[in-house]
Symmetry: C2
Subunit: 408 residues, 2 copies
C-alpha cells in the first residue's frame, strides 16, 4: 500500500562507524516479532533529541529528556515496540527506569547514560520483565550492519521499513549519514515524529548538535501529518560519532552548511517515508502554501487542508471536488484573508482565482492530476513572501479498518 | 444508519402561526428531488441569523448578512440544495441577487426583504435559471403544514429529515416552537450550522432576537462537530411571528428566561439531530469537559477529542483503546496541563486518574460502555470550575464511502 516508498537493498545501506545495533524478539506484545532494538554508541558520540509536545508525554520521553539534560556520555539507546508506556503514571516511570538500569548493568555503564524509547498501545503497563529478559539477545546481536533489521524492529502498523543512507564528501572527508524511522498513524509530529534515529560519523559539538536537531526537525518530521493526532511518544534523535574525521564545532565552520544540508535531507527522506507508508495511504500529497505573511499562517492553511477529512477522501476517490480545499483554507483561522487574492493550483493546473473557479479550468484537467499517486497542491495567499510545505496522504477505507482493528 | 434520531409524525409537528412553507422540485442538480423551499413570513415577524465564519463565505451568506443589516421587514426565505453557490466569486453574487429579485417580484416585495440559502457542491455555478423556474411551484405550494416536506426539501447527504416541534405555556400564552435543520458532513459550525431554521409565534424585539440567536447558537449548533470541516454556508435563522400573543422586548421581561430556554432546547435538538444523522455515524458521543479554567480551554480539549480520527475509529470499533483519548487531551493545546490531575470517565466508569490507568479499571467495564450507541466521555481537568460540552459521532467506513463517492 505504500506510495512510491524506496527501500534500499542491504548493500545500499552504509554502516556508521561508531554505531552498533542489536535486535531481538522479546515477545513484548506478540511472539515471533522483532520488537526490541539496542543501539550502542562509541565513546565520543554526541547525541541530541527532539521530543513530542503532547502533555501526556510518555515515560520514556520524560526519561530521555532527563538523561540528555544530565549531560553524561550517552552509551546506548533501547527501543521497544508493542507498548508505548504512555498514560501510565508513576508506575510507568518506574518500569522505564528499571529498563535503563537493566541495560546499564549489562553494558557496565550508568542508567542515565541510556536513552529509552517505546511505541505501541497507550494506557497499558509495559511488560518490563519480558523486555529485560530480551536484552541479552539484543546485545549478543550488536554489530554495525543491522540497520535493516532495526528498521523492521521498530515497526508497528508500518508496512515497510524506512531507511535513508547516503555518503557525502564534506571538508575533505567521506561522511556517512544513515537513519531509520517508523510511524504510520497518530502522526502529526510536534517537535519530532513517532521515532526517528539518524546517525553520522561526522563529529558535532553537543550544543551545536542540539540546535541543529531542532532546526532539522522543523524541515522534516515537523512538516508531516497523517491524521493530525500528535503522539505521546514522538522522538527524533541525531547521533554523531565523529569517526569520519570531520569535525564541526560552530555554525561558522566551513563544513557546517553542507553538513546541515546533508542531515536535513536525510531527515526529510525519513519523515516523508512515514507519509508514504501511512495507514491506508494511496496518495502522497505535498501542500505548498506561498505568499503567506508569516510561517505561522502558511502552516495554519497547510495543516487545515492536510487534516480535512473531506479533502483527504476526495483525493482518495481521485475526485476533483476542489471546493473542499477552498472551504478548508477559509476556516484555517486567518481572519482577514482576502479570498479574491487567493489562487489554487493542482500541479500546474490553475483551479481557482479571484474568489472563484478559474474560467479556463476544465474538469478533465483536474481529473488528470487527481489520478496521480503524487500530487502538489499549491495555494498562493497574496499576503506576503513566506512559503512553507507540509506532506500528507489521503484518507481511505483502509485507514478506518486499520484503526478500528488495531489492538483488538 | 442514524443514531436514535426521533422523527416526529406529521401530527406531532405544530405549525407556527405566521409562517408558511412551500416546496418544489426544481431539478437543480438531479431531477425528481424536492430541492427548492420557500418560507413566507407574516408582516411583523422578527428574524435574526447567525452565519459561518469561514472566510470563503458563500454568496447567499453574504447576501443574507447584507439584507438583515438593511433592517427591512424580512418577507421570505428561499433555500436550494444541490449547489452551495460558494467559491463562485462575483458571478455567484450575481446569481444569488437574481434569485432574490425573482422571488421578490413574485411576492411583490423588495429584493432585500428576501434571505437566500444554498447548500450542496462548492465551486460550481448555481443553475439560477432552473431555480427561478421552480419558484412559482414552490409559491403555489405555500401553507402552514409543510414542515415535514421542507425538512426533506433541504436535505443533501442527510438520510433522515430533522425536525423539532414543541408547544409550551409561557406568560399565559400557548407558544409554538418548530424548526428544521440539515447537514451530515462538513460539519463543525463556527457560529452556526449548515442550515437550521427555527420559528416561533412568540413576539421578540429584533435587537433582542439578534442577541438571543447568537447565544442560542453557542449552546446548540456551535457545539456539534462531525468532521471538523467548517462549511462555507452555515446559517442558523430564528423567526418570531408574534402571533401567539406572547411578546418579549427585553431580557428583563418575566417570560424572557423561559422563552430563551425553550428556543435553546429546540435548537439543541435540531443540532444534535445533525450529529445523529452524520455521514456514516453509528455512535452518538457527548464529550463533556469539566473543571476547566475557561470555556476556551474546555472547548479546545472537547474538540481535540471529538476530531481525533483515532478516537473516532476506536468508538466505531467499540474498542476501549482509551489511551487515544489521553493523547488527544495532551495535544489539545493547554501548555500547562497537569496530567496527574486529569480524570477520564466513560459513562460511569473511571478509566484514568493520576496520569495513568485507574487501578480498579477493568477492560470489560470499558468494553460494556463502548458497545452502546450513546456514550458520555467525561474529562475532568482539575483546573477550575467551567464545564462545556460538544456532541459528535464516530468515524466509520461509510464516512469514507460517502465522501469519496459524493459528487462523483
Amino acid at each position: 500500500m505504500a506510495v512510491n516508498l524506496q527501500i534500499p537493498s542491504e548493500s545500499e545501506i552504509f554502516p556508521v562507524p561508531g554505531i552498533e545495533i542489536g535486535v531481538a524478539e522479546a515477545g513484548i506484545r506478540k511472539a515471533g516479532r522483532r520488537d526490541l532494538t539496542v543501539f550502542r554508541l562509541a565513546p565520543g558520540t554526541s547525541v541530541a533529541g527532539v521530543f513530542t509536545r503532547n502533555r501526556f508525554r510518555a515515560a520514556p520521553v520524560q526519561v530521555c529528556e532527563a538523561h540528555l539534560a544530565a549531560g553524561k556520555q550517552i552509551a546506548a539507546l533501547v527501543i521497544n515496540t508493542g507498548n508505548a508506556n504512555a498514560g501510565t503514571g508513576a508506575d510507568g516511570m518506574q518500569r522505564c527506569n528499571d529498563t535503563c538500569a537493566a541495560l546499564a548493568r549489562l553494558l557496565d555503564v550508568q542508567a542515565d547514560q541510556i536513552l529509552p524509547f517505546s511505541t505501541g498501545v497507550i494506557l497499558e503497563p509495559l511488560p518490563v520483565d519480558r523486555l529485560v529478559a530480551g536484552l541479552p539477545a539484543a546485545i549478543a546481536n550488536l554489530g554495525p550492519n543491522n540497520w535493516f533489521s532495526a528498521a523492521h524492529g521498530i515497526m508497528t502498523t508500518d508496512t515497510q521499513p524506512k531507511i535513508a543512507s547516503v555518503r557525502r564528501d564534506i571538508g575533505g572527508k567521506t561522511v556517512t549519514f544513515t537513519g531509520i524511522s517508523k510511524g504510520a498513524g497518530m502522526i502529526r509530529p510536534n517537535m519530532a515524529t513517532m521515532l526517528g534515529f539518524l546517525a553520522t560519523d561526522a563529529g558535532i559539538a553537543p550544543e551545536l548538535l542540539k540546535r541543529m536537531a531542532r532546526e532539522i526537525a522543523d524541515v522534516s518530521f515537523n512538516r508531516i501529518t497523517v491524521d493530525g493526532d500528535t503522539s505521546t511518544n514522538d522522538s527524533f534523535i541525531i547521533m554523531a560519532s565523529g569517526q569520519s574525521g570531520l569535525r564541526v564545532d560552530s555554525a561558522n565552520d566551513a563544513a557546517y552548511a553542507e553538513l546541515h544540508q546533508a542531515l536535513s535531507a536525510a531527515a526529510a527522506e525519513l519523515a516523508q517515508k512515514i507519509v508514504r507508508d501511512a495507514e491506508g495511504a494511496t496518495k502522497f500529497m505535498t501542500i505548498r502554501v506561498e505568499e503567506a505573511g508569516t510561517t505561522e499562517e502558511a502552516l495554519k492553511v497547510a495543516y487545515a487542508v492536510a487534516h480535512s477529512p473531506l479533502v483527504k477522501t476526495a483525493f482518495y476517490a481521485s475526485d476533483p471536488n476542489l471546493g473542499r480545499i477552498l472551504a478548508a483554507v477559509g476556516y484555517a483561522g486567518i481572519d482577514d484573508l482576502d479570498t479574491a487574492k487567493l489562487r489554487l493550483w493542482l500541479d500546474d493546473v490553475l483551479v481557482a482565482t479571484a474568489g472563484g473557479r478559474n474560467p479556463e479550468y476544465r474538469e478533465e484537467d483536474g481529473q488528470r492530476v487527481m489520478k496521480k499517486a503524487e500530487i502538489l497542491v499549491r495555494i498562493a495567499l497574496g499576503r506576503g513572501s513566506v512559503t512553507d510545505t507540509v506532506y500528507t496522504c489521503d484518507f481511505s477505507h483502509d485507514y478506518v479498518s486499520i484503526n478500528a482493528d488495531y489492538r483488538s
